[in-house]
C-alpha cells in the first residue's frame, strides 16, 4: 500500500497531536499484523527530496509538479485486491485527507 497525501509543508504538530496520530497508525497496523497479514511495515518518507531527470536536471523536493506526495509505503499479505481493500478500509491516512493506493507485487525470481 502506498500512502499519498498533499504535502503538509512545514509540519506543525504538537507533541500530543503527533502521539495521537502515531497511536492511530500503530493500532491500525497492529490490527493487520494480528491477522498475520503484515509483511513489512515499510517506512515513512520525509519532505526532503530531489527529483533527477535526464540531462542532469535536478529539481527540488519530491513534489515539484504534483499535488500529492508519497508519504510512505507498507507491504501486506492478501489473497486478492478485494481483501487488501478491506485492510485499507480504516487506514488513518483517510482521516487526514489522504488516500491509499493498493498495488500487487510482482515476484522476482532469482
Amino acid at each position: 500500500m502506498i500512502y499519498r497525501s498533499e504535502p503538509m509543508g512545514e509540519i506543525k504538530l504538537t507533541a500530543e497531536g503527533n502521539l495521537e496520530i502515531s497511536k492511530e497508525w500503530e493500532n491500525w497496523m497492529g490490527g493487520i499484523a494480528a491477522q498475520n497479514r503484515l509483511v513489512s511495515p515499510g517506512m515513512r518518507l520525509g519532505n526532503e527530496g530531489r527529483t533527477v531527470k535526464p540531462g542532469n536536471i535536478i529539481t527540488n523536493g519530491p513534489y515539484a509538479e504534483v499535488k500529492e506526495i508519497v508519504g510512505g509505503l507498507s507491504i501486506f499479505r492478501a489473497e486478492s485486491i478485494e481483501e487488501a481493500l478491506e485492510l485499507a478500509n480504516n487506514c488513518p491516512i483517510l482521516n487526514a485527507g489522504g488516500n491509499v493506493e493498493i498495488r500487487d507485487i510482482i515476484q522476482m525470481n532469482g
Partner: protein, 423 residues
C-alpha cells in the same frame, strides 16, 4: 561448608534424591565435556552408577563426611577407568585411530566449581542445537542440565518412558552425527546461537507455566529450572546479552503470580480474579532489575516486548494507562513477529482500551476458529453484548480445549452466564 552442614541434618533416604537433583547435572556435564558429545549416554550411565553405588554403600557404611565430594571422586575414577580401557582398546584394535595416543597422558577430569559451571553452559549450547526438534531439546535439557529422570520427563510431556527414551536416543545420535562441539560458540555466532538457547528455555518455562499437566509441583519445577538455566547465562560475560536479561525478566514477572494463579485444589485462577496480595513482590522487583539490564544495545528481541507486557501486568495503580501500554506493546510485538497468542492478547487489551464492541470486530478478523482460546476470547467479549453468542463461543471452546484446567474455567464461565441469561 554450609552444604556439608546441611547434609548432616539429612537422612540417607532424602539425601540421595537431593544430591541427585543438584549434582547429577554437574558431574554429567563435566564428564560429557571430557568424553565428547558422542558419549553422552556413557556419561549418564557412569553418573547413574555412581549414585547406585552411593545408595548401596552409604546404607551399610554410613554417609561420608562430604557426600558430594565422594560422588565426584567415584564418578571421576569410573570415568578414568573407562578412558584407560578405551585407550587400550583403541591402541590394540585400531592403532591408526589417534585419540589419546600418548601413553603417559593422564586424562584430567576437572571438577572445580569453575569447570562445572563452564561445562554446564557449554552443554546448554550443545543441546539447544537447531538440528534436533524442540521437544527433544527440552527433553535432553531436562535430563542433562536439570537432572530429571526419564519418568519425570515422561510425566512433564504427558507421555510414557519409551517415547522419551526414543526421543532422547534419536537426539543424541543426531548430535553425534553432526559432530556438535561442547563449547561456547565463537563471538560472531554467539547472538544467533544464544537465540536458539533462549527459544528452548522459553519453551521449557511455558511447558511448566501453561502445561496441561495437573501436577502443580512438577509445573513449578519446570519453570524454576528454566529460570535457573537462564540465570546461568547471565552469570557469564559472553552470554550475558540483553535478550537473555529480557527473557529472565519475563520469567520473573510471570513467576510472581505462581501462588495467585492456582488455588488450593490446583485449579487455575484467571488474572482478573487473582488476589493481588499473593503476587510475589520480590520476584517483580527482580524482574524489573533484569528488564533494566536488558535495556542496552540497539536490538529489541521479542522477549523485550513480552517482558515489558508482563511488567505492565504486574502494575495495579493506573488501569487506563496500563492497558494502553499493553495494547501498544502488543501492536509492536505483532509488527515484529506474528503469533496467534499475541494476536488474541492484543485483542483483549484492545477491549480494555476501546470497549468490547470494537474488540469483537477486530477479533472476528483473526480467523482462528480452531483455537479454543479464540472462542474463549469471543465468549468473554460477547458476555457484555450478547449472552447467547457468548455461551455459543464458550461451548465451542469447551469442545476444542484439551487442557483440564482450562475446561474447568470454561465450564464455570458457561454456568455463570447461563444463570444470568435465565434472570
Amino acid at each position: 561448608m554450609y552444604q556439608a552442614e546441611a547434609f548432616l541434618l539429612m537422612q540417607e533416604k532424602e539425601l540421595i534424591p537431593y544430591l541427585y537433583r543438584t549434582e547429577f547435572r554437574k558431574i554429567t556435564a563435566v564428564l560429557c565435556r571430557s568424553l565428547g558429545i558422542e558419549h553422552i549416554s556413557i556419561a549418564e550411565d557412569l553418573v547413574g552408577d555412581t549414585f547406585l553405588l552411593a545408595a548401596e554403600t552409604w546404607g551399610l557404611k554410613g554417609i561420608p563426611q562430604n557426600p558430594a565430594a565422594w560422588l565426584y571422586t567415584v564418578a571421576k575414577n569410573k570415568a578414568k577407568d573407562l578412558l584407560k580401557r578405551n585407550t587400550l582398546f583403541s591402541q590394540k584394535i585400531s592403532p591408526q585411530i589417534q585419540y589419546t595416543t600418548d601413553d603417559k597422558h593422564e586424562i584430567e577430569i576437572d571438577l572445580s566449581a569453575q569447570n562445572i559451571q563452564d561445562s554446564q553452559l557449554q552443554m546448554m549450547f550443545a543441546i539447544c542445537y537447531p538440528g534436533i526438534p524442540p521437544e527433544a531439546q527440552i527433553g535432553l535439557s531436562l535430563r542433562i542440565l536439570c537432572s530429571f529422570s526419564i519418568d519425570e520427563i515422561a510425566d512433564a510431556f504427558l507421555t510414557n518412558k519409551e517415547t522419551i527414551n526414543k526421543r532422547l536416543y534419536r537426539a543424541k545420535e543426531k548430535l553425534k552425527q553432526d559432530n556438535v562441539q561442547i563449547e561456547l560458540p565463537p563471538e560472531k555466532e554467539i547472538d544467533k546461537r544464544t537465540e536458539n538457547v533462549l527459544t528452548t528455555l522459553y519453551l521449557l518455562f511455558n511447558e511448566g507455566y501453561y502445561s496441561s499437566n495437573n501436577n502443580a509441583v512438577l509445573r513449578k519445577d519446570l519453570c524454576l529450572e528454566a529460570m535457573r538455566l537462564t540465570h546461568m547465562l547471565t552469570e557469564n560475560e559472553t552470554t550475558n546479552k540483553p535478550a537473555v536479561n529480557a527473557l529472565l525478566a519475563l520469567m520473573c514477572f510471570h513467576a510472581s503470580r505462581f501462588e495467585a494463579r492456582i488455588d488450593s485444589k490446583g485449579e487455575l485462577i484467571l488474572y482478573e480474579d487473582q488476589d493481588i496480595e499473593l503476587w510475589n513482590r520480590e520476584l517483580i522487583a527482580q524482574g524489573e532489575r533484569y528488564l533494566n539490564k536488558a535495556s542496552t544495545g540497539n536490538y529489541l528481541s521479542k522477549y523485550h516486548w513480552e517482558a515489558a507486557i508482563a511488567y505492565w501486568h504486574t502494575t495495579t495503580n493506573n488501569e487506563t494507562e496500563k492497558w494502553q501500554k499493553i495494547l501498544s506493546l502488543y501492536n509492536q510485538l505483532l509488527m515484529a513477529e506474528y503469533s496467534p497468542i499475541a494476536a488474541l492478547n492484543r485483542t483483549y487489551a484492545l477491549s480494555k482500551v476501546y470497549g468490547n464492541e470494537d474488540a469483537i470486530i477486530e477479533a472476528e478478523k483473526l480467523k482462528l476458529d480452531n483455537s479454543h482460546l479464540y472462542h474463549c476470547l469471543l465468549g468473554e467479549l460477547y458476555s457484555d453484548v450478547d449472552l447467547q453468542k457468548a455461551i455459543e463461543h464458550l461451548q465451542q471452546a469447551l469442545k476444542l480445549s484439551r487442557i483440564a484446567a482450562d475446561k474447568k474455567v470454561i465450564k464455570n464461565k458457561i454456568s455463570k452466564l447461563g444463570k444470568l441469561k435465565n434472570v
